[in-house]
Amino acid sequence: MAAEMTVQEVKRHVRVYLMVFGALLVLTLVTVLVSYLDMSLAPALAVALFIAIIKASLVALYFMHLISERQVIYWVLVLAAAFLVGMFALFISSLLDQAEVAVMLMGAGVA
């Protein structure tokens, strides 16, 4: 975030914050309502994750000012995100690679 901002700029920011607030409330409502549709696990997970990622992006971009942040911060986050994704990918694939788990998940209609 730039160090110096005029009062007008801050006021404009405040309007954005309130709009983001509204969007977050709507998305919360949507994700709860969708969960009552009784979808099977895979699509339900996809929808819930999709909405959560949008909400999280709104918070990170606007409340945490990531939209106008410096490169050094992005690098730190990219690194953390990459390792996080790697961890999930390898945890899940190591499970799927065990035959009995894969068969079980197949039975449950997930994989």
Binding site: F83, F91, S94, D97
Partner: protein, 588 residues
């Protein structure tokens, strides 16, 4: 960069702080570094003594130890688990990162202190109390943790109270490391002095930089695992307990459905990068000492830095090579074998670059140089013996044998510890203002390296013969270990010899208190880096420099042809063209 010109020596003018403020709750990175150093050396000694007691038992099973009596299997297991924990988390990491990192990094980048001095103090105190909790666990009913330093469940889940203490101790140590890592990265990114671009940072700083990222991002999953194991132990959950588990006391009364493998994944997600946390600072120290004593620049400096970064990133995706025997599927096993083979490449590049650096140098065989030279082949053996463990077909028969013990001790004992000794001998004159005796240093070096090899090489042979690790009797009960059983006595004698050869080191430290050992010269080793060239004669005050140095050149400009001087320190201004324009390269 106006901030940088703030007079760093204002500290002198402040009213004199009391004893506690000066030595125990200090915010000066140099004092904190020395605090870390002393505490870590004490823990190293303690961990070593635990091992000596175990080696006594292995050499002569059941024979009573003077003053202590015969070791029981429970005690043996406690000593084994705590030896590993103490050496890794309370000895080497605090010494390599906490002590040398804290003391040297701000000096080498021209910073007046760490970015967050009070956080730095907090890191030390978290570490200290983590150590106290670990030590205190020896005195609770049934003693300290005895499920190995890896604390594998289900065993660790149903272990005695010492295991809970171990987990709380780890939470404190992890907190300490995380705060330290945040501080190091911020310091290196934000407080480099004018002209100190990333590629002008000495290799040691680079090593600490990458290490800090490993600590920052690999430790939290272990903390998560620690919380889960604490829940298993204190709230009777069964995250790591499968259904239908039966112990000597009958079936376990838990809901089950958990997975012991989950712990192994989370644990090794940390513990493999941790291996590089142990080795990278050591490589950094060796690089500094080598450049300084060969009187020439490091060969392939940029290549070494790129290798370091690549090593750091790769270290996050190789962890499951510790888990080949867990019934892992073939595809995922192949993935981890490939990444493991790939990660050996940057290590080999760094080691080769260090060896090539020696070529054509006029080497000064100082004591730190001897230790640094000792590191090279020892780390080489450690690395090469690791290759068979990175491939599943050879790992499966070797897993959990003494071969593994031999391999990783070659990396961390004759490897990292020799490098840490090199660091102690190298920076001692700056830290204390006193010099160490050369003859005692040489006795210490030769005694240490020879006895270490006599301890660890036979382990490789025993392991190939199939002797399992963690055996209370050292393999006595198994007929197949008979041909290699006699090595046990030999290794134990070598361990005792190693202990004896630490005496000259301790004597050397004590003798340096003598007044005639004063250092007369601020740049004792004629070094190019700011830690020597820009700091005043010890004692260096809080604030480090009389005037904050500017950096004009690369880190290791020794014996530059045509310069007319033996070396050009980083803060030496070019003579004809005046103060250089090339100060901060914008990296943002």
């Amino acid at each position: 960069m106006a901030d940088h010109h703030a007079a760093p020596h204002e500290a002198h003018a402040e009213h004199k702080a009391g004893f506690w403020r000066t030595y125990w709750f200090s915010t000066d990175h140099k004092v904190i570094g020395i605090q870390y150093g002393i505490t870590a050396l004490a823990f190293l000694l303690f961990g070593f003594i635990l091992m000596l007691l175990m080696r006594w038992q292995l050499a002569s099973p059941g024979v009573e130890i003077p003053f202590l009596g015969a070791l029981t299997p429970e005690m043996y297991n406690q000593f084994g688990a705590m030896h590993g924990t103490i050496m890794v988390f309370l000895g080497i990491v605090p010494l390599a990162v906490g002590a040398f990192g804290n003391y040297v990094v701000p000096l080498q980048i021209g910073a007046i202190d760490m970015a967050f001095p009070r956080l730095n103090m907090a890191s030390y105190h978290f570490f200290f109390w983590g150590g106290v909790v670990m030590l205190a666990s020896f005195f609770v009913p049934q003693g300290a943790a005895k499920a190995g330093w890896t604390s594998y469940p289900p065993l660790a889940d149903i272990e005695t109270m010492g295991q809970t203490m171990w987990l709380w101790g780890m939470v404190l140590l992890i907190t300490s490391s995380l705060l330290g890592a945040i501080n190091f990265i911020t310091t290196i990114v934000q407080l480099r002095t004018e002209g100190m671009t990333y590629f002008r940072m000495p290799f040691f700083v680079w090593a600490q930089f990458v290490t800090a990222f490993l600590l920052l991002l690999a430790f939290p999953p272990l903390e998560a695992a620690g919380f889960l194991q604490l829940a298993d132990r204190l709230l009777d959950t069964s995250f790591f307990l499968p259904s239908g588990l039966v112990t000597a006391d009958g079936p376990l009364d838990v809901s089950g459905g958990g997975s012991p493998l989950l712990w192994q994944h989370l644990f090794w997600f940390l513990a493999h990068p941790e291996v590089y946390v142990l080795i990278l600072p050591a490589m950094g120290i060796v690089a500094e000492v080598l450049a300084n004593n060969t009187r020439k620049p490091l060969w392939g400096f940029r290549l070494m830095v790129y290798s370091l970064i690549f090593l750091g990133i790769m270290s996050f995706i190789v962890w499951a090579h510790h888990m080949f025997i867990t019934g892992m599927g073939t595809a995922i096993s192949a993935f981890f074998q490939v990444t493991t083979m790939i990660i050996s490449i940057p290590s080999v590049i760094i080691l080769s670059a260090l060896i090539i650096t020696l070529r054509g140098g006029s080497i000064r065989f100082t004591v730190p140089m001897l230790f640094a030279l000792g590191f090279l082949p020892m780390f080489g053996i450690g690395g090469l013996t690791g290759l068979p463990l990175g491939l599943a077909p050879t790992d499966i028969p070797l897993h959990d044998t003494y071969y593994v013990i031999g391999h990783f001790h070659y990396v961390v004992a004759p490897g990292t510890i020799l490098a840490l000794f090199a660091g102690i001998y190298y920076w001692f004159p700056k830290m204390t203002g006193r010099t160490l005796n050369d003859t005692l240093g040489k006795v210490h070096f030769w005694g240490t390296i020879i006895s270490m090899n006599c301890i660890f090489f036979p382990m490789l042979i025993q392991g190939l013969a199939g002797v399992s690790r963690r055996l209370f009797d050292g393999g006595l009960a198994y007929s197949f270990s008979e041909p290699v059983l006699e090595y046990n006595m030999f290794m134990s004698i070598a361990a005792a010899a190693l202990f004896v050869f630490q005496v000259p080191f301790i004597v050397n430290l004590i003798m340096s208190l003598r007044k005639d050992r004063n250092v007369k010269k601020a740049n004792y080793w004629d070094a190019t880096t700011l830690d020597w060239s820009a700091t005043p004669l010890t004692p260096v005050a809080h604030g480090n420099f009389e005037t904050v140095p500017h950096v004009y050149r690369d880190p290791y400009e020794y014996s530059v042809p045509g310069s007319g001087v033996p070396f050009l320190s980083q803060d030496m201004a070019p003579q004809d063209d005046g103060p250089s324009e090339a100060t901060i390269e914008v990296v943002a």
